[in-house]
Amino acid sequence: MTGSLAHATFARRHLLTCDELTAQEINALLDLADKAAENNRQINKKRDVLRGRTLINLFFEASTRTQSSFELAGKRLGADVMNMNVSGSSMQKGETLIDTAMTLNAMRPDILVVRHHAAGAVELLAQKVDCSVINAGDGAHQHPTQALLDALTIRRAKGRVAGLTVCVCGDIMHSRVARSNINVLNTLGARVRVIAPSTLLPTSIDRMGVEVFTDMTAGLEGADIIMMLRLQRERMQGSYVPSTREYFHFFGLDYEKLARAKPDALIMHPGPMNRGVEIASTIADHSRSVIREQVEMGVAVRMAVLEALARQLPNH
């Protein structure tokens, strides 16, 4: 049974970061997610793994796709799901994150899914509550389920992750998606490259086990996977790059640059996309683009994570 396999190899209480996950743990989650993906294509998608459990989506930062993906994942597994968007409420009343955590903890949820704009915030919160906590993105630190869904998408399309050359392109400095993916892909044996202008590369990024390129044409040479990152609007106008136009010229994915990658290279993007900034609009809809599969695998991976964590909950 796949479930018991996950039970045997993923025995954590929280999912906070990718940098300590073993290949065995990741593969166990991906196997479980494969089953969930199959389940999600059935007419009857409802299961009862989380029946009676309460899942709270606690989002300190606005999110459409991650929050709805977790909500759907929780509901398909039978949990009661509550969404809390805290960005505008108690935080503005001066309540500290820890006080908010204590308040929620008193409501006795089983699983908390948390997104916060500050790195380390989710870990801090996890120390103060009794339930399982899933990091749904903390600042520029980690976004574990995104990296897992990306790995799942790659594994399903290519049959493996090990040995593939994966290029992560764009705003590496501010990206939790990049950091999580670097961890997971390295652990699974891929060769990871990062491609960005120097202003968007964090110091010593090479120490995380990646090859660094500031020339996208050179960086994409022979790539199996091209993973584009979103460039936030406030960083486009002169602070980190001079203009949208110049950024697209040197770091946007167009057909000319795409031609440097392998003919069967996959194109990925965690969304939401800026068409014409980091990716040409027609490439986003290209036959090799797996951007929509990523969204589908997002729900499956989140179901797998919820199921694996639920097995660690007391009284199970």
Partner: protein
């Protein structure tokens, strides 16, 4: 400001001590006699015998040395008394063997006027149990724009001038402050961190920051300001002290300034001598400091700089912060750590590890800062104030939050094992702290 403790009038004799005076380099067995709040006599002839009618303290061979002079202490008085008052800071100081504290002007309101210097001195006289001196703001409101009344503030008792936790970005203002202060022989103490490069940064740039996803600042932000300041000192001749340096490159700048005989000195915080960026671990906010903790190589360079005499002063940079400012995600928490009670013990770690000798270590916490600030304390000599500490170098203990006297408990050394502690602290001849376990030992 001298305290006039009545209890100090009775004579006290310290017998059987290991007397260390960093000012003269003396490290000898002997005894010491305190009368009317000052050191009346010192020497080998007092080792075993005390004059009549004196209170006798048998030092049992432990170290008797000048009380520490800490020239960078933040309190919350006035304005943020829930974090620390002059009284609580002074009790923390006494327990740590610090007999003189220099309080920083980063308060609410900022200490930038004569009346506020006077306020601090009065409050300290009434409530504090150690000597308290004021370092006044050198620009109004610490805004880095308009110069304060440096002459009048000095006359009121300010021992030095600073822009607190921020660097003056405007080079012209910095030049004028140095130039004007020179006429009064006033010491300018400057925090060196480029405000534009440090904007938004919460720790040292490097692998650790990148992995944690935290915005980091390159250590060059410190050296850039220091290099500019040294040029300005060369231009103006003003007395300049870099408040707390944190990296090897800055020491190279200091060396070059010294080689040119410029009036430049520098300090380092105890945190940057004993901790590094890896201590931040899983986002521990008590290790969020300004300047940030650097790499281990930089820490080692700072210790070497201290041993070699390039660094003149060690400060605690005692900076009380409470849950309101520290119980946050790392990037949103305040900078600062308390340090008065652990200053000496943490410094002794370096001595016990063989990283530095006792004499240069103590000198940087006693005679050097006293001399820079023009204080008569920080030394053992006839006629000097009887600001003394008795230290058991070997005594092991564990830092316990519950026993910390400072009002805020943000110590990076909480639960740390220490070796060496203060048995007795005397200010102007009056015992202001006595270790409860001293008699047992």
């Amino acid at each position: 400001m001298r305290r006039n403790g009545n209890a100090g009038d009775g004579a006290t004799a310290f017998l059987n001590a290991r007397i260390i005076d960093p000012a003269s380099g003396r490290d000898q067995p002997g005894g010491l006699l305190v009368k009317h709040g000052v050191i009346a006599d010192v020497g080998d002839h007092l080792r075993r015998n005390a004059p009549e009618n004196t209170k006798v303290i048998d030092c049992k061979g432990h170290v008797l040395c000048p009380g520490l002079v800490d020239m960078q202490v933040f309190t919350g008085e006035p304005g943020l008394e829930h974090r620390e008052t002059l009284k609580t800071a002074s009790h923390a100081a006494a327990a740590g063997g610090v007999t003189t504290i220099v309080v920083m002007p980063d308060t609410e309101p900022v200490i930038d006027q004569v009346a506020l210097v006077d306020f601090i001195q009065r409050r300290a006289r009434d409530n504090a149990i150690v000597n308290v001196h004021v370092m006044a703001a050198m620009t109004r409101g610490l805004k880095g724009q308009e110069m304060t009344e440096i002459g009048l503030l000095q006359r009121a008792g300010a021992v030095a001038f600073t822009n607190g936790k921020s660097s003056i970005a405007n080079t012209r203002v910095m030049r004028n402050v140095l130039l004007y202060a020179k006429d009064f022989g006033a010491l300018i103490v400057h925090h060196t961190e480029d405000p534009y490069l440090t904007e938004g940064a919460v720790m040292n740039a490097g692998e650790v920051a990148t992995r944690l996803g935290l915005p980091g600042v390159n250590k060059a932000a410190e050296t850039i300001v220091l290099e500019r300041d040294v040029r300005l000192v060369e231009m103006t001749g003003g007395r300049y002290h870099a408040a707390q340096l944190s990296c090897a490159d800055s020491l190279a700048v200091i060396r070059s300034a010294r080689a040119r005989k410029l009036p430049v000195t520098c300090g380092v915080s105890i945190n940057h001598l004993t901790l590094n960026e890896n201590d931040i671990g899983p986002y521990r906010t008590f290790f969020r400091l300004k300047p940030p903790l650097r790499s281990e190589e930089d820490r080692v360079a700072m210790v070497r700089g201290l041993a070699g005499g390039e660094i003149d002063v060690v400060v605690s940079s005692h900076d009380p912060q409470d849950a309101d400012t520290k119980r946050h995600p790392f990037a949103e928490a305040a900078d600062g750590a308390i340090g008065l009670e652990t200053l000496l013990a943490a410094a002794l770690r370096l001595y016990h590890n063989g990283e530095i000798g006792l004499m240069p270590l103590l000198r940087a916490m006693t005679s050097n800062p006293a001399q820079l600030l023009g204080l008569s304390s920080g030394r053992i000599a006839k006629g000097a104030p009887a600001d003394l500490i008795l230290v058991d170098l070997g005594q092991p203990w564990v830092v316990d939050k519950a026993e910390i006297r400072a009002r805020s408990k943000n110590s990076p050394f909480d639960e740390s094992k220490m070796q060496g502690r203060v048995l007795l602290t005397m200010v102007a001849g009056k015992a202001v702290y006595q270790y409860a376990g001293a008699e047992r030992g």
